[in-house]
């Protein structure tokens, strides 16, 4: 109800605003129109001149333009220009990269020489850092930032998706294309194998969730990567901090911006599987025969509910040869028999879907009060054909600032957003439809019976359930947040106090409704699948945060500069998780707890509360702007630890040297703007454990059995708790180099770092199972991460046909690797667990020599019987030949330990390596073209055992039959090609961790490196002369494509995977031990058409 009111009021407000804006402007347009046409018919005359810099040297390629027109030229090698301008009142704009633009009234002159002043360079750009801002020139921590410009080039409903690949070592992996998908932000690789941890994300200084943001509200994003820059955030910022700053209120007359767009979406990858029923069934039988050692037996069912007989197969063959014949018949037992060629994927997915976004913002104000208001409506329709998964999102933000007097100002920042997402479900399970289709979506099975009823298969695989559209999930999230803050400056530029208080409320609600669905297996033979079940999860979070800082900048004379910061930060989160479930709808059209009568209902209320308190101090000192020093420390307390372990002190320090400002570098000063060396070291605590982990607690619940006539309240033993539990620590060493050259045309930034994460809170040593409990966790492990990042940028401006053409190129590459340096939990160095010295992501696997050619080769080869190829484990030509690396005559992993790993060796690494991003952009005559490529340079991927889109019939006889495999499989009597990629067709070869393909091996290790054109934008801005006529300040039309082109190493052997969607299935649904690679919501590509108007 509240959501509905909220949505309506939001829409109403937006509507009213738009109405008034357009209404009041109407008059202005008509008034100004006449004057505009008159100017065009004027005569032209010539202007010449020279443009020089402050040293009197000519500037080559500087731009001269008639203000408000596209008329312009550039200077030649001598810095000279000549331009035809209309006679009358003309103002010329002179501009050059790295110099301040000048606008001069021509005032009838025929010669106009100009001297341009060097602009305050980008080095003076202010970058948001922890509890303040700093000039880029003075930064000595590893800090990166981007502004809204970079984000605007990527029209994307999610800030997170827009950020992917934009900042070196801000690693964002979107596991699929679900419109509601959010992901955590990783900074600089593996954080902790214990408590884990991702970057702390602060929105306007307070922890927030980027998914709640309207991307149009974002002004800038900073990433604090090393311990030194994140030190003031202490334990909350251990693994980096992302500071998102929203647009500020701007003084002056009202400025209104409208941004609207319409997008078309489609899947990046459409899994291609055989849909011919006969072809599929033949392969099914081959695979089955292979597993059963060619005994000539046949299965009684295809999986479990689809009957199989040889007679049916013969009939299938007959009907396949004669497509005119009906695909369904009623057999002797009165049951339907199916002979389909069903493309279940085509039934499940739409070819195209679409979405739209409207965004309106206004800002303005006086010297006393200013405001920023924005609202957004975003919708994206789902990709599923039925019960469509439509997303709707509303955002509203209001910011205001009142300057009470010269010393005191008060700010308020309010935001509210609401997201609703509807999602179809399978009636009887929370499993993924993609996985169920593998199990029950055979081409021979069909959706409907001749009488229009559903087939059992269609309800089992879920597509039929989707079609009925009455088993579904509704997610609704409401976020409200208000921050009120003050700035008090008792001594201008010397002493500043800042304080703020935030209250935020988040209500997340998920309702799942499952219903019974009826199917028919023959005329009059009906069955039922599903549940009459309703579940509701409700998570309410009340979050309070307050920050108080004092900034002191004493005047120590010209040469010295000191900035002292002290502050405190307290955060508390009070969360209640409510859950209820009940069976049996009394009124199926009204799924509500009270309108149900199941006795086995559950109502739960759980808490998840925590609080953090931190006191911090920071001192920045610089001498002559050349020698920079920063020291900080934070004293942190957390409620998640036992009383005696709650507090920790975490210090850090950094130094910087601006070589370019040294006198001896003076000769280079005309081309070298900046050369800075940085070094930092610091330690931060990580308290990212779940609350209450140190308490010995007993959980009370209801029995699942009926005891003494009903369900009884029950409890059982508490889990083992750690003897001791304290902060994990992360110590980061960082060295960096910044170079800016040629008036900021060219920049290089390099950072290398090492992060030691120690005392990681991990599982205790493996103890004999007779303990009857998993060993309690403890601070038992250490990790080392090494990495580097490199950014190179170039931008310049050329003259083409006397018009300026500006372009920019920015390339980023980064990498990191991690090693376990201590691990107490694995004394035997079992490879199945973490072990000391292990590089994270290393894949241990067998080596495959090829396919066996004949029985003699098999007889002479090492014993492979531990890796069962079939029921009786009888090897035949065409089977995989494993290399006996340790020459012991047996293919096996030995003890599976580091000392005795048998025939295993490290065959690859699953970590994403050499991330890169390339930004290309150009502007000419109002047109802009920008492209952003993103990718991963190296990554090995071994498809998990349940990755049916890869393994096909090698996984399950009744699974998918990928078209990639057709013709490239060794099949008895059909294709006995010793060079086939896929070995002798037998099923279950990948279905198990000690099966020949289920064990990792080099043959089936895939190259998951990729490069992707993440976005390509073409835009056109209307020329100023036209705009002034309609009294607008900017109009930009744009067309953006996302994920339009991809190259990936995967396609060598499989075309069914998007390189970004090779994680395990959708975490919103039931998962199967992370074995479901590729079964997720498809990644989408889209084309967006939009317009951005500023009044």
């Amino acid at each position: 109800m509240i959501d509905k009111i909220l949505k309506q009021s939001l829409l109403f407000c937006l509507g009213v605003t738009i109405f008034f804006l357009f209404g009041s402007r109407q008059e202005a347009y008509s008034n100004s129109y006449q004057g505009a046409t008159a100017e065009l018919s004027q005569q032209q005359k010539s202007v010449t001149g020279t443009i020089l810099d402050s040293d009197g040297l000519p500037l080559i390629g500087a731009t001269v333009q008639v203000e408000g027109t596209t008329v312009g030229t550039t200077t030649d090698l001598d810095g000279q220009y000549e331009l035809m301008v209309p006679s009358g009142s003309v103002r010329l704009v002179f501009s050059y990269i790295g110099y301040e633009s000048q606008t001069i009234d021509l005032a009838g002159r025929a010669v106009l020489n100009v001297t341009l002043k060097e602009s305050a360079s980008e080095l003076d750009e202010l970058v948001v850092i922890g509890y303040g801002t700093a000039k880029r020139r003075d930064l000595i921590g590893a800090v990166d930032h981007i502004t809204s410009e970079s984000l605007e080039k990527r029209t994307n409903p999610s800030v997170t998706r827009s950020l992917q690949g934009q900042i070196p070592n801000l690693n964002i992996t979107m596991r699929d294309g679900k419109p509601s998908r959010e992901t955590s932000y990783n900074v600089r690789g593996e954080t902790s194998i214990g408590a884990g941890g991702s970057a702390l994300i602060l929105i306007d200084g307070v922890e927030g969730d980027p998914s709640t943001l309207n991307p149009q509200d974002v002004e800038s994003i900073s990433v604090l990567k090393d311990a030194s820059s994140a030190a003031v955030y202490g334990a909350r910022g251990t693994f980096g901090v992302v500071l998102i700053t929203t647009k500020r209120a701007q003084k002056g007359s009202v400025k209104v911006n409208y941004n609207g767009n319409y997008s078309f979406y489609t899947r990046t990858v459409e899994p291609s599987v055989v849909t011919n029923g006969f072809e599929w069934t033949t392969s099914f039988m081959n695979a089955y025969d292979g597993y059963n050692d060619y005994l000539g037996t046949y299965p009684v069912t295809i999986n479990n509910i689809f009957p199989f007989t040889l007679e049916w197969y013969d009939e299938l063959k007959r009907r396949n040869e004669n497509p005119e014949l009906p695909k369904i018949r009623v057999n002797n037992n009165g049951r339907y028999e199916y002979f389909g060629n069903t493309d279940w994927h085509a039934l499940l997915y739409k070819d195209w879907t679409h979405g739209t976004e409207h965004n309106l913002s206004l800002t303005g104000g006086s010297d006393v009060a200013s405001y920023y208001l924005s609202g957004r409506y975003f919708t994206q329709d789902g990709i599923y054909r039925f019960g469509s998964d439509d997303l709707k999102k509303y955002n509203l933000r209001g910011k205001g600032r009142i300057e009470i007097n010269e010393k005191l100002s008060v700010e308020n920042n309010f935001s509210i957003d609401n997201t609703g997402y509807h999602y179809p479900l399978i009636s009887y399970t929370d499993d993924l439809v993609q996985r169920n289709m593998e199990h029950q979506g055979f081409p021979v099975a069909m959706m409907f019976n001749p009488d229009g009823s559903y087939t059992h298969s269609s309800l089992y695989n879920g597509v039929g359930d989707f079609h009925q559209e009455n088993s579904y999930q509704d997610d609704n999230t409401l976020n409200m947040r208000n921050t009120v803050g003050f700035t008090y400056t008792p001594l201008a530029k010397k002493l500043i106090f800042k304080g703020d208080f935030t209250y935020s409320y988040r209500d997340y609600q998920r309702t799942r409704v499952n219903r019974y669905h009826e199917y028919s297996e023959g005329p009059g033979l009906t069955g039922i699948r599903g549940q009459s079940l309703r579940r509701m999860w409700n998570q309410e979070t009340n979050y309070y945060a307050t920050n108080l800082t004092a900034n002191f900048m004493p005047d120590l004379g010209e040469d010295h500069s000191l900035n002292l910061l002290v502050g405190g930060n307290y955060e508390a989160s009070i969360r209640r998780n409510l859950y209820n479930r009940r069976d049996n709808y009394l009124y199926p059209e009204k799924p509500n707890f009270i309108l149900m009568d199941g006795e086995n209902y559950v109502m739960e209320e759980r808490s998840n509360d925590w609080a953090f308190l931190g006191l911090f101090a920071r001192a920045n000192y610089s001498y002559l702007g050349r020698y920079l020093l920063e020291v900080s420390s934070r004293y942190d307390g957390s409620s998640k630890f036992p009383l005696n372990e709650q507090w920790g002190i975490f210090p850090s320090a950094s130094v910087g040297w601006r070589l370019s400002d040294e006198p001896f570098m003076q000769p280079a000063s005309h081309w070298l703007d900046n050369l800075k060396l940085r070094f930092s070291v610091g330690t931060l605590g990580n308290g990212n454990v779940s609350p209450y982990s140190y308490l010995e607690l007993m959980t009370v619940q209801k029995t699942s059995l009926l005891l003494d006539g009903g369900f009884q309240t029950m409890t059982s033993l508490p889990s083992l708790i750690p003897d001791n539990l304290t902060w994990e620590k992360a110590t980061t060493y960082n060295a960096g180099l910044d170079v800016d050259m040629f008036k900021s045309r060219f920049n290089i930034g390099v950072d290398i770092y090492r992060r030691n994460t120690t005392d990681m809170y991990v599982n205790g040593p493996d103890l004999p199972q007779v303990l009857g409990a998993s060993a309690p966790k403890g601070n038992y492990a250490d990790l080392k991460t090494d990495g580097w990042e490199l950014t190179i940028g170039w931008k310049d401006q050329l003259s083409i046909a006397d018009k300026p053409f500006s372009y920019n190129v920015k390339m980023m590459v980064w990498d990191n690797q991690s090693w376990i340096t201590k691990y107490l939990g694995n004394e035997n160095n079992l490879l199945s667990s973490y072990y000391e010295g292990q590089r994270i992501g290393d894949i241990w696997g067998y080596t495959i020599e090829g396919l066996f050619k004949d029985t003699e080769e098999i007889a002479n080869h090492a014993d492979q019987s531990r890796l069962a190829v079939s029921r009786a484990r009888i090897l035949l030509p065409g089977d995989l030949k494993f290399k006996d690396l340790n020459d012991d005559g047996e293919i096996w992993h030995g003890e599976n330990t580091l000392d005795d790993h048998g025939d295993l060796s490290i065959i690859g690494n699953s970590q994403q390596r050499y991330h890169f991003g390339v930004n290309l952009g150009g502007n000419y005559s109002g047109f802009g073209l920008s492209a952003f490529f993103q990718g991963v340079g190296k990554r090995d991927w071994y498809p998990e055992i349940e990755s049916g889109y890869f393994w096909g019939h090698y996984n399950r006889p009744y699974g998918y039959y990928p078209t990639d495999q057709v013709g490239n499989m060794w099949i008895e009597g059909v294709n006995e090609d010793p060079n086939a990629y896929w070995p002798r067709l037998r099923t279950y070869l990948s279905n198990g961790r000690s099966k020949p393909m289920g064990v990792k091996n080099d043959r089936f290790l895939q190259n998951a490196a990729y490069v992707r054109l993440k976005s390509l934008t073409l835009d056109y801005s209307l020329p100023q002369e036209l705009l002034t006529k309609v009294k607008m300040s900017a109009v930009r039309f744009y067309c953006t494509g996302e994920n339009l082109w991809t190259w990936t190493g995967l396609t060598k052997h499989t075309t069914n995977f998007d390189p970004e969607v090779i994680e395990s299935g959708d975490p919103d649904q039931a998962t199967n031990d992370n074995q479901e690679h590729g079964y997720s919501y498809p990644m989408l590509k889209n084309i967006t058409f939009g317009v951005n108007i500023t009044f």
Partner: protein
């Protein structure tokens, strides 16, 4: 400025002070372990967790005999057909041992609860009952296992101890179950879903009979005290018989009383049969606690098509008390006639003439489901709607008084103390209920000896084993019966092919339920046209006739079930040995 700084410092201090307390957070939904165990109610709610962990599943009870000499299944267990090793073996996971930890934790803590001793002993008895059940299963699976009676801690050296001998562990089990059978309260709950003193006694008879016979027949163990165990078994059973207040459910309807025990729907029907049912798993529609047994036993696909085997069906007597197998042509009788005038339990275990679904439709054995023709319906509800959905609510008896009688009979017979008195106390009432004339055997049944128990000469013991097989058919006990009798061989294809009904000729339509409608026809190829209503059994590699064009149907499946001596015990799983080498030596034959 000074004032401002002071103000700021003050703020910081207040903040710090206020927040110190706020850094303590406790969950609202869990109890602190240190304050638990303070009342009888605490003991009671904890005790329900034992049931959660220990009560056997519906599948273990009703489908467990799928691996036995009673039935054919589509795909037999890999343990019998495949290459089995310690890497395939489960049953030693943390999850399995956590049930024991849960009990031992209770036993440690409960002592301190301020309640009268009798109250405390009742709950301790419950915990020990479930520990006995836990260890019985471990011993049945692995033989010698380490015995633990405290909740271990991570640093405990006992984690790494070796296995305790079978004798030691079973002695402990006996102590536990004896304590339970002494101290658990006598009063029964209305639904037979809680353990009372007689449940413990019944379980004691089961455990002791198991161990007694196991020791007697597994002479390789060299244990000579089988008689002690058998005596304990007989005494415990006798106590239930004398004082338990239980009796067989017999309303004088031999054609239906037996099956009523297995098809009583809803919790509300449990009280009616609770005089015989000692412990049950209750089912109820309103509570959404149900199972899929009707579906499983009537589906060509959603189940293993469990079907009784001809040799076992042969053991059902004629109602006049005579042996079916004494007929000259007993092995060549057409199904319809074969099933007539037999022990009424046969027509309540498999589909026979006259069986109808609740719709009134005749239901002959369905060859889309059954592999042998003996279509099991003991657990199936008559309403065919259950054939396609998993909402059956017939409650599942776990221990029945009938078993207590059989335990008593067998223990006495093994002790050589069985005679007419015992017969009249045990076998007679079972046969009475089943409408079978109770005639004591005059001699050892040569059919039983030949087909099942070659070493047994005691005429009573053979009759008791016959009775046990029939009465407890598909109640999940048969596999362990074979183990203790050392008759694992009966699981092999060689001894016990999946043999079905007798088919006098190929290509002939047969009526299976006497309604003059043809039901089945065995053919090489599907004829054209086909006769409506007839299920065609097509011969081939999966299904054959013993004599080519006639004989018994045999479900083949191309795989051989093997039995070896070592298979009486399972190997200790490799994952267990990896973490504790002291569990070695491995069970014999599994190295």
């Amino acid at each position: 400025m000074k004032r401002i700084l002071q103000y700021f410092l003050l703020m910081a201090l207040i903040l710090l002070y206020a927040c110190e307390g706020l850094l303590e957070k406790e969950p609202i939904h869990q109890l602190s372990a240190s304050e638990f165990f303070s009342s009888e109610s605490d003991l009671e709610i904890y005790s329900y967790s034992f049931y959660e962990n220990g009560l056997p599943s519906v599948d273990n009870i009703a489908k467990g005999d799928g691996t036995s000499d009673l039935a054919a299944v589509t795909i037999p267990s890999t343990f019998l057909t495949g290459v089995w090793s310690s890497t395939d073996q489960g049953g030693w996971g943390v999850g399995s041992w956590s049930a024991l930890r849960n009990i031992n934790y209770f036993l440690e803590k409960a002592e301190k609860t301020p309640v009268p001793e009798a109250v405390l002993n009742h709950y301790i008895g419950l915990a020990r009952y479930w520990r006995a059940v836990f260890y019985l299963e471990k011993v049945q699976t692995f033989g010698a296992v380490p015995w633990y009676e405290t909740a271990l801690h991570p640093g405990d050296p006992d984690l790494y101890k070796g296995r305790d001998s079978r004798e030691f562990v079973m002695q402990k089990v006996l102590e536990d179950i004896t304590f339970a059978a002494t101290h658990i309260r006598e009063n029964k709950d209305t639904y037979s879903t809680l353990v009372n003193r007689y449940t413990a006694l019944a379980m004691k008879s089961r455990i002791c009979l198991y161990e007694g016979t196991y020791r007697k027949y597994h002479t390789e163990l060299g244990l000579t005290d089988a008689a002690t165990w058998l005596r304990e078994a007989a005494d415990a059973a006798r106590e239930v018989m004398d004082n338990g207040g239980y009796s067989l459910y017999n309303t004088g309807k031999p054609e239906s009383d037996y099956r009523t025990l297995f098809t009583s729907e809803e919790l509300s029907k449990l009280p009616a049969i609770s005089k015989e049912v000692i412990l049950a798993r209750g089912m109820n529609t309103d509570s959404r606690i149900w199972h899929s047994l009707t579906w499983n036993f009537n589906s060509a696909t959603n189940g293993s098509r469990w079907s009784l085997l001809k040799p076992f069906v042969n053991t059902y007597l004629m109602r006049d008390g005579s042996r079916f197998t004494d007929k000259d042509d007993y092995d060549q009788i057409e199904f319809l006639h074969e099933m007539r005038s037999r022990d009424y339990r046969l027509s309540q275990t498999v589909r026979t003439e006259g069986y109808k679904r609740s719709t009134g439709a005749a239901a002959p054995p369905d060859f889309a489901v059954t592999l042998t023709g003996y279509h099991i319906m003991k657990w199936s509800l008559d309403d065919p709607k259950h054939d396609g959905q998993g909402f059956s609510t017939n409650s599942i008896p776990i221990i029945r008084y009938a078993e207590v009688l059989l335990n008593y009979a067998e223990a006495k017979a093994e002790l050589g103390e069985f005679g007419s008195t015992e017969w009249n106390l045990t076998i007679k009432p079972l046969r009475d209920r089943a409408g079978v004339a109770s005639t004591e055997p005059q001699d050892a049944d040569s059919y039983l000896q030949e087909a099942f128990f070659p070493g047994v000469t005691d005429k009573y013991l053979l009759e008791i084993r016959r009775e046990r097989g029939i009465e407890l058919c598909f109640e999940g006990l048969r596999y362990e019966d074979l183990m203790r009798w050392k008759r694992g061989e009966l699981l092999s294809s060689a001894k016990m092919p999946f043999k079905g009904i007798y088919i006098p000729a190929k290509g002939v339509n047969y009526d299976l339920n006497g309604d003059q409608q043809a039901d089945v026809c065995v053919v090489d190829q599907l004829p054209s046209p086909t006769t409506p209503g007839v299920k065609y059994v097509i011969l081939g590699s999966n299904m054959t006739l013993t004599e080519g064009d006639k004989g018994h149907l045999v479900w083949g499946w191309g795989v051989t079930r093997k039995w070896e001596e070592k298979m009486y015990l399972r190997p200790i799983p490799e994952t267990a040995i990896t973490l504790n080498q002291n569990l070695l030596p491995q069970n014999e034959g599994w190295d």
